[in-house]
Amino acid sequence: MYRYDEFDAKIVADRVAQFRGQVARRVEGDITEDEFKPLRLMNGVYLQLHAYMLRVAIPYGTLNAAQLRKLAFIARTYDKNFGHITTRQNIQFNWPALTDIPDILDHLAEVEMHAIQTSGNCIRNVTSDQFAGAGADELEDPRPWCEIIRQWSTFHPEFSFLPRKFKIAVTAAPQDRAAVRVHDIGLHMKKNADGETGFEVLVGGGLGRTPYIGQVIREFLPKDQLLSYLEAILRVYNSLGRRDNIYKARIKILVNELGAEAFRDMVEAEWAVMDKARIDLPGDEIERIHAYFAAPDFENDPDTGDFDSAQGADKGFARWVRHNVRAHKQKGYASVTLSLKPTTMAPGDITSEQMELVADIAQTHCFDEVRTTHEQNLVLPHVRKADLYAIYQKLAPYGLGSSNAGLVSDIIACPGLDYCNLANTRSIPLAQRIQKRFEDLDRQENIGELKIKISGCINACGHHHVGHIGILGVDKKGEEFYQVTLGGSAAEDASIGEIVGRGLSTDEVVDAIESLISFYLDRRSDGERFVDTYRRLGPDPFKEALYVA
């Protein structure tokens, strides 16, 4: 993974010192809240219902053991002993005191972490495929390009005050695990007719109150021209994006008002006159960044030990392997999803003890690497198959052994009204009720892949628009209601779910979800996922099933 050089270290240390001074001046009354608020937001500090919330950047979801242990220490020392993995692969702490945050940032800096650009109208944490560098299906590791974008976008003076926040995702596998089609810019690495690898560039995707799927404005961008092309897109957006209406300020609105073709023409015109050599990295610098992401020192075709026999002897392990273990590009290795979706915790929450366990496992068995996922889980990217059974046995006592990756209980949920100042309804308790209803693992396995995503308000932090089943909380005269959308997807078959009717009361909604799933089970053809059956049959029969409950 990338390691800070002396400039990175100094930038982060200076920023912490600056924020320490800003907090002191705010507490002393030397600056007002109106003056302080944009400063704290630039350092990832929000004020929520009960407390401040600190969002810490995890660049493209990559962590090492020392960083995870430091996060555990922060959670234990300054919070309520847990952190929350977000849909931008970051981690949030829900209970820090403002006056402790400068110290927390100092601790983070010790392990090359920070909270810069995790809020505000700037380029946010670049997200990527959690199996980057490991997946058997990827063209190449996308993380060096994420790192190049991270360095280019950090404190970029031209793009520090954009019309609105800006999110970029990069993937390099045909199966899109990074939701690139619902990002402001999505970069999908592909090969052209000459066999060269470059980027398909999509713009104008996004969720929130006006969801859009991104549109392709360039089918193939040579890799070494990435930064200049991104800069051209950002310049057009920075010039023309609306600043008079927060609800119309995202690039998706601009792209869809102008039309993708007109927007592309503007970007290409801007790009044509740019001094690209000033912006694009020279080859040796690209190589230098790539060197940080060299493949680990894999053994050549290592013995798989008890991997096969343990699956025969332990059905729970066999189930975990079926759902949480993925093929690795290196023979004898696998990638493991550690589910943060047991029914006993809020989706995405992880305790200090769990973080420390995962850190230990990563250090011993996974080349010191851990990933966070946009679906609010963790991944051990490179594990010898021979070690999997021992790891599985260590996870269960810590509540990390759930065999539900990609299944109905692997729910994305925003913090909702239990924490969030903007939410209309709670999300976490509903997620837990659905998890409880479907806790039987045989039943979950029979249902197969099903993505349920829950947002507590129209800002859509729980990605409900792209859930196979999406659930949006709405406030009706002070009562919680939930509107269901069907047929959404954040993957390579991206689509925005359709609203299928009136909102359901808290008492109705879990029964209604069960009714939908029962209908799917009755009507599915061989091999069809829920979303496939929905797409084949259309909304009407599902709507009928939903409101029969």
Binding site: V27, E33, L49, H50, A51, G478
Partner: protein, 116 residues
């Protein structure tokens, strides 16, 4: 025809009108904990004994709170009712204000007794 009661912020992005009984609530600057204004002008983390205002008195109490920037952040008027000697949340934002006063509903460890 009498003027409608003044439009006010009622927390988060919500708006309402200055009708009925109100308490002044905010977050404590130092740690963000939810607090309520008491009769003597002090701020406490329990709603039970909060001062209750109506009409112009509520607006005046809010105005005073907004200048206490070294103590609290983002004061606003919330709907309340008096239940005997205790003040409790009421109105459209009942659930939001119940959660703010009692803590998240998802785990008893996170309840307000933990932070007091």
């Amino acid at each position: 025809m009498a003027d409608k009661p003044a439009k006010i912020s009622t927390g988060g992005v919500k708006k309402g009108r200055n009708e009925g009984e109100k308490a002044v609530t905010a977050n404590r600057l130092s740690d963000g904990i939810t607090v309520y204004l008491y009769e003597d002008g002090s701020w406490h983390d329990s709603l039970r004994g909060a001062a209750v205002f109506e009409g112009d008195d509520a607006l005046a109490a809010l105005e005073q709170a907004t200048v206490e920037e070294t103590i609290v952040v983002g004061p606003y008027l919330m709907d309340v009712v008096q239940d005997g000697e205790t003040v409790v949340p009421a109105g459209r934002a009942l659930l939001r204000e119940t959660i703010r006063s009692a803590g998240p509903t998802i785990k008893s460890d996170y309840s307000r007794t933990e932070v007091q």
